[in-house]
Amino acid sequence: MAYDLEFEKPLADLEKKLTTLQRKGEKLKPEEQRQIKALEAELREKTAEIYSKLTSWQCVQVARHKDRPYTVDYIKLMCEDYFELRGDRRFGDDRAIQGGLAVIDGRTVMLIGHQKGRDTREKMECSFGLAHPEGYRKALRLMRQAEKFGMPIVTLIDTSGASPDLASEERGQSQAIAENLLVMAGLKVPVVAVIIGEGGSGGALALGVANRVLMLEFAIYTVAAPEAAASILWRDTIYASQAAEAMKVDAKSLYQLGLVDELIPEPLGGAHRNHAEAAKALKAAILKHLDELAALNQEQLVQQRFEKFRAVGKFAVGDPVAVR
């Protein structure tokens, strides 16, 4: 897999040297074989070094990487069995949010996630992960069913936002998202949400009112797409990188701000370099938190989730400005 992000330039150069040597195949001299070993080690070290100090904007690029594992990939890699439940029973089946009964480590959970789509055809089918009201309403249907059967809910969040199209407005995009927030806050089963790639504003939060909110190491979670924030506050989308830094959209910053419960480490060079390893870490984290939450009864689950979100916010208590 090529190193194709701009900050990966030094890695791409190393890799080029490496492949030039490797192409020689059996004709390699012992000296050159040693060189390969050294280059490989250097590549690993350099990758680790670069990825240990990514900026917010660099995380945005990794989170959006075209080869990053998506919900469907994780389902295939993590679940022993999966039966997709489709449609909102009201309008249609939005492929931008998919979910169903999933067996993870012998237990059945309701797994729901955004799906961006890998190739062009799938991307079109999934609207690039921009969900419509029927997607959120399907998610709601599945969550209510999970509650009915006492199943834990796991959501995988990966969207640049809810779809801003006319048909979605006609069918009540705002209402659909709002209702998810309301209902999720009262669910009597454990809910674990993981931001696996992009957590884009309300469209992400609509699957995010959980007892535990986890993020993959290089995922992002943001109030507005950096480009959108740049267009409003900097008056030009070319300032997207500044907007990303200013809003602190990267997982590490959000963890430091206390807005995320845990970071899930990604494979060397990002989840896109090793889907299987990424899925293994994700699965382990989900199971750990499901185990912990299993100790809480229904009332405690609702209470813990409420308190978690009730506590969010930073403000001062001071003398009010004299208002007229």
Partner: protein
């Protein structure tokens, strides 16, 4: 949330000739031009008409104070949590302006502490808890303080078991507070889950404009959802939709009337009917309790 593009935001922040700031800030409003039908309105008539155009019924924006004065029984309003002030949790700077400086500037400009005023009061003697947003303060955007004040107004309604009224006007979540802002959507909604379980009625009034994170949280969670005529209401602003779809939208897209026609509202209520309408609703939801109200 980025629900208004810069074009929308600029339009929303409306040039002065289109959007007078209210009689208090501009004492000598001799004449006002209706932005919709271009009619020149005599200032005093316009105010008597509750800042609506007599010709085309265009509803000008009102400040939170004006709305409280318009809707509540005189002298009944008791403000709560006016001492909550925004801080700058991310040390946010854009285009060389810090969020701190922006906050100071907005406080001076508007005479408000924040984009919402919360409190308790009565309408025709019927008690309620309320939160009223003000678009003049950073586009009515929701950061930690707006979220906290709205949440506390909800909790006040819950504690008093009195009806809740939230009057929304907002471009969405406040970007300068990043994820703290986005999560206010979850916080306010979670408080409403409790209010709903306690069977305390919540009336949501949407005014121009109500978009983004506000519409996608508490604004669309009312037991009754009302809107003023012509108000821009939606998840995305019209410019965002046009850019996304690469096509022009019909003129009525995301107006209150559009939203009503698509089944997302209970009624579009002209401004002069708001107070009696709210009173009727409060009375109906109060049911038998209303019999004990004496005044």
């Amino acid at each position: 949330m980025s629900d208004l593009t810069s074009a929308d935001a600029q339009r929303a922040q409306a040039p002065d000739d289109l959007q007078p700031q209210g009689s208090r800030s501009i004492p000598g409003n001799l004449a006002v031009k209706c932005p919709k039908c271009r009619e020149l309105l005599y200032g005093k008539d316009w105010e008597k008409n509750l800042k609506t155009c007599p010709r085309c019924s265009y509803h000008f924006r009102l400040s939170a104070r004006e709305r409280i004065d318009l809707l509540l029984d005189e002298g009944s309003f008791q403000e709560i949590d006016s001492n909550l002030l925004s801080v700058d949790p991310l040390n946010f700077v854009s285009r060389s302006q810090s969020y701190q400086a922006k906050l100071r500037e907005e406080r001076e400009k508007t005479g408000l502490n924040e984009a919402v005023i919360a409190g308790t009061g009565t309408i025709e003697g019927l008690p309620l808890a309320l939160a009223v947003m003000d678009f003049a303060f950073i586009g009515g955007s929701m950061g930690s303080v707006v979220g906290e004040k709205v949440t506390r107004a909800i909790e006040r309604a819950l504690a008093d078991r009195s009806a809740l009224l939230i009057i929304s006007t907002s471009g969405g979540a406040r970007m300068q507070e990043g994820m703290f802002s986005l999560l206010q959507m979850a916080k306010t909604s979670a408080a409403l889950t409790r209010l709903s379980e306690a069977r305390v009625p919540y009336i949501s009034l949407l005014t121009d404009p109500t978009t983004g994170g506000i519409s996608a949280s508490f604004a669309f969670l009312g037991d009754v959802i009302l809107a003023e005529p012509g108000a821009l209401i939606g998840f995305a602003g019209p410019r965002v939709i046009e850019q996304f779809m690469h096509q022009r939208l019909p003129a009525d897209t995301n107006t209150a009337e559009f939203v009503l026609a698509h089944g997302m509202l209970d009624a579009v209520v002209p401004r002069r009917l708001l107070r009696p309408t709210l009173a009727r609703l409060l009375r109906m939801y109060a049911g038998s309790k209303v019999k004990s109200v004496t005044h």
